[in-house]
């Protein structure tokens, strides 16, 4: 018996979120599997064709419904639950979208959920971090039960292009509640790469001292590197940076090629968010700062001198 894997696509109505391509990679690790991506949207055609182009995807279900103009867990969950019965696995990304909707789906299916899958060890065996990544647990789903899980983005590469899956328009008969309504989304508009998926990240901590210094010091370097900007919880709480820049256990968990930690001491909850970075550079005036325990390259000194100097050297 083959495994049939359903992946819940995340998108903004126009573009497929890269976290979905990582779910495809995770799904591809399940032995003897066939991957279907479900795109719930007001008009799913554009996003569905992006999903169909991912290598490893066999089928795309385009679920058009007016209530999908903005994806709400209360509306998406019954649609996915209605599609789920032929599938052995239902996966979504461990983003705020997936964390919101997947447990709702799991409960409708009377299934347990495996959150933050970081490795696939078999069709019913997975590994996931607990205690903020301070322990890793191997989880086994009881035989015959549906596997519902969220996929930790930092643990999987996105599936490459090269697929040509069939897109099927699919109507679902699900009762969609009207008790939850979208009001607004305020996002800081930025021309920089997205923090969650950027190859390079320049990140600042409380040592920056002010919102103005945070911008003046970090942004020119980030722009020169084509990097996203991140921040510690302390820097966010102090008002130096907006909360969507927060990296760490309670913010974003990221895995860039290069992470430059500037004026960051390295609290455990922050390190949890950057454990999977390929290369970590730390710049801090305190040579005893815990960030140096995990940094590949450490530079002790005054960040206000060092950072502009690095920027000059990159010209």
């Amino acid at each position: 018996m083959g495994n049939r894997i359903l992946i819940v696509a995340e998108h903004d109505g126009a573009r497929l979120n890269p976290a979905t391509a990582k779910c495809v990679t995770c799904g591809s690790g399940i032995p003897d599997g066939e991957i279907t991506v479900a795109v719930c949207a007001a008009d799913a055609s554009a996003v569905a064709s992006q999903a169909a182009a991912l290598k490893g995807v066999a089928r795309v279900l385009a679920v058009d419904h007016p209530s999908n103009a903005y994806l709400l867990a209360a509306a998406v969950a019954p649609q996915i639950a209605a599609l789920a019965s032929p599938f052995s696995h239902v996966l979504g990304p461990s983003t705020t979208f997936g964390k919101d909707v997947m447990p709702r789906i799991a409960a409708l299916l009377d299934s347990a959920q495996i959150s933050d899958i970081m490795a696939v060890e078999g069709a019913t065996r997975f590994r996931r971090p607990i205690y903020a990544g301070n322990a890793i647990v191997t989880v086994e789903v009881e035989a015959g039960a549906k596997v519902v899980g969220t996929v930790r983005a930092a643990s999987f590469q996105p599936a490459p292009a090269g697929g040509s899956a069939a897109v099927e328009k699919t109507a679902v008969s699900a009762e969609i509640p009207a008790h939850t309504r979208f009001v607004s989304l305020s996002a800081a508009k930025s021309d920089r790469p997205d923090l969650q998926t950027a190859a390079k990240v320049v990140s600042g901590g409380r040592a920056l001292g002010s919102a103005e210094a945070f911008q003046k010091t970090l942004y020119p370097l980030a722009d020169k590197l084509g990097a996203a900007v991140g921040a510690t919880r302390a820097a966010v709480d102090a008002g130096y940076a907006p909360n969507e820049l927060q990296v760490g256990q309670t913010g974003k968990i990221i895995a860039p090629e290069l992470y430059i930690a500037i004026g960051i001491s390295g609290a455990i909850q922050h390190l949890t968010g950057i454990k999977d970075a390929r290369t970590i550079v730390a710049i801090n005036k305190d040579s005893e700062a815990p960030i140096f325990e995990v940094a590949d390259f450490g530079l002790v000194g005054d960040l206000f001198q060092i950072v502009p100097e690095i920027e000059r050297l990159l010209t």
């Binding site: 903004d12 290369t279 100097e309």
Partner: protein, 249 residues
């Protein structure tokens, strides 16, 4: 009565350094400090503030877990909860079981809001609130950083990857709390004394008609791989040269 139900969990205190047992069968919790899950403290704080504004009359705190959980329920009563419900259960309680138990309590208590932390800092599952909302067939507003009540509705600002999202939900609803929603109050000694006299009711899963099923087997625990400590460079020029020579820049 206008009532808020708050779900809490007893967890290893966030300051404890977590260590995996040498036999790989769990993490060491013997003799370790236990606390109310920090996100659940935020949930309780929010409920108390709503009550103090006059928008609720009673705050009921509930947990599912072993007898020792009563310590954490007493802490919640000392913070200001009016009464506590303890659903006693030993062993692994999966989020779906906790959600089913909370559903039974919600049906009994008829709260207009159920507030929980967005996740417990032990299992990091982030499931119980969403599962409860699904089973209760009510709205969910997860990862809340602002809650405004307007009659029969709530307007909730959520911390999402893209920024701040605002939803309007009909009540009753389930809200899960993010870090920036509020800063929980400290418990004062007289309140601890007072809390001893507040009602704490003990129930069982069986009495609620909830089966304590474990669907996920936790077969092995291990410490995370450690990053190797790197090298110190002396200045910006050496750093840039090193990154270039490794092909990173």
């Amino acid at each position: 009565m206008k009532r808020i139900l708050v779900g809490v969990k007893r967890v290893v205190d966030y300051n404890v350094r977590i260590r995996v047992k040498p036999d790989g069968r769990g993490v060491i919790t013997n003799g370790v400090k236990m606390s109310v899950n920090p996100f659940d403290e935020i949930a309780l704080e929010e409920a108390l503030r709503i009550k103090e504004r006059g928008a609720a009359e009673e705050v009921v705190v509930a947990t599912v877990g072993p007898a020792d959980c009563q310590q954490q329920l007493r802490t919640c009563l000392a913070m200001g909860a009016d009464r506590a419900l303890h659903v006693q259960a030993d062993g692994v309680i999966e989020p779906l079981v906790a959600a089913r138990a909370l559903l039974k309590l919600a049906e009994k208590e008829q709260p207009f809001l159920v507030i929980l932390g967005k996740q417990a800092i032990d299992d990091d599952n982030s499931q119980t609130g969403q599962m409860l909302a699904a089973l209760w067939q009510r709205p969910q507003a997860t990862f809340a950083s602002k809650v405004e009540l307007e009659g029969e509705k709530a307007r909730v600002t959520r911390e999402v990857d893209a920024g701040l999202e605002t939803l309007e939900v009909d009540l009753p609803a389930v809200i899960t709390t993010d870090l920036r929603l509020n800063e929980p109050r400290y418990v004062k000694l007289p309140d601890i004394m007072k809390a001893k006299k507040k009602p704490l009711e003990t129930l069982t899963l069986a009495a609620l008609g909830v089966e304590q099923r474990q669907r996920l087997k936790l077969t092995r625990f291990e410490p995370p791989p450690q990053r190797q400590k790197g090298v110190k460079v002396k200045d910006a020029a050496e750093l840039v040269a090193a990154l270039k020579s490794k092909g990173i820049l």
